[in-house]
Symmetry: C2
Subunit: 212 residues, 2 copies
DNA sequence: AGGGTCGCGTAGACACTGTCTACTCGCTGG
DNA sequence: CCAGCGAGTAGACAGTGTCTACGCGACCCT
């Protein structure tokens, strides 16, 4: 019987995920050992196996929480009214903001070597993890289309998404700060302002300049 | 690749890196166990420690090879003559091409959790690994500046780099194919063409349309 | 030539990991 | 009442990275 109650019917299962979410946000994906999670949840190392057939399955469930939270953030700013261009900008800031605030979680979400891959899926638990980004992308392409570029909105949205993702990734790695600011950044430009200029440049590039 | 090593002063050190490069190219970063590398090099598991104080140091040396090869590719296409816009396009294709052909290596190069971080460096072996991208970025910003955008070339180049990096990353993850093509892609657009459209869109966005 | 030293690599131990399997409880249903 | 089952425990196993002690061969220096 697949218990239909998705809520808190199985307490340990949820507790394990909770512990994992806390752990990944504070210490990053490397801290997500199976035994460590079990330890912090107060159970023995074999207990998680009752709910997750493998370590990756547990990590996938944790990552799913991350996608859910990112989805909430995106949906929040997508609900705001305003000129479509500003909506896309808000989306972009939400995406990059999530990547920088929830560093560890964002890292996990795109570490596909740690997550469940094709063959092995929970199957009954929900859609495949890789498809978690699809609804988010749909929101983006919709807002981009409303900006009314002549080109196909799908391609533009995809390129913009890639740009945001790349900014988040390289910024976290520190390469962009290094490349733009030099080894010793000039004091006039704190990192936050650099990042903002970068984001504006990306938005201008894909959506056209503000006054267009 | 030419192992016509003039010095071969420290044969094992180079051999370990060679083995690592081969391994990461075929099986990805997860296959780069310290003991596995030693095994394939025909030495015991304690031997690498003579040359690399820690596992990460060895992986960093392997990744350095990757940055070197990427640098060669970039330098090759950067040497070609032609309109500046075409030079930037060639650079972009080289970057993404490297990421897709040398998947495992590219993955390793940006897995900073596996690589040496700030404190611990080989120090005498060369510049810090994180700075390996700086000269490559300089080439890009130079070519971008030659395209003569009104804006600051540094910011444009950084945004473009991030875009290329994001395309490479998300394409490898499969998200872009999923987002653009849908679950079952329309037969008219094979993946290669999708990728090309994406790349062109990014170049057009950051450099202005072709006829400008 | 003999003896000490040192680079280079081996081998074992240690703590730790993820997975697998046998086992023990406590509860519930017939 | 007791068989069965869900849920969690505990131990074993192979494998990992790091650390330490130990050989071994070549070299240099009186």
């Amino acid at each position: 019987m697949t218990s239909a109650n998705p809520a808190s019917d199985n307490s340990l299962r949820e507790r394990l995920i909770d512990v994992g979410v806390d752990l990944v946000t504070t210490d990053g994906p490397d801290a997500l050992g199976l035994r460590e999670i079990a330890r912090r949840a107060g159970v023995s190392h074999g207990a998680p196996r009752r709910y997750f057939p493998t370590h990756r399955a547990l990590l996938s469930a944790i990552a799913r929480r991350g996608f859910a939270e990112l989805g909430e953030r995106i949906a929040d700013v997508a609900g705001a009214s305003g000129p479509p261009r500003e909506q896309v900008a808000a989306l972009a800031r939400a995406y990059v903001g999530f990547a920088l605030e929830r560093r560890g979680m964002f890292e996990l979400m795109f570490r596909h070597d740690l997550l469940n891959s094709e063959g092995e899926q929970e199957a009954a638990d929900g859609p495949r993890l890789r498809e978690s980004t699809v609804p988010l992308f749909r929101m983006l392409v919709e807002r981009v289309a409303r900006c009314g570029g002549s080109e196909e909105a799908g391609v533009t949205a995809a390129a913009l998404w890639a740009n945001l993702h790349g900014i988040a990734q390289l910024w976290r790695w520190g390469s962009l700060q290094l490349a733009m600011g030099g080894p010793a950044a000039d004091g006039g430009a704190p990192d936050a302002e650099l990042l903002d200029r970068l984001l504006s440049a990306a938005l201008d590039a894909h959506l056209g300049p503000v006054t267009a």
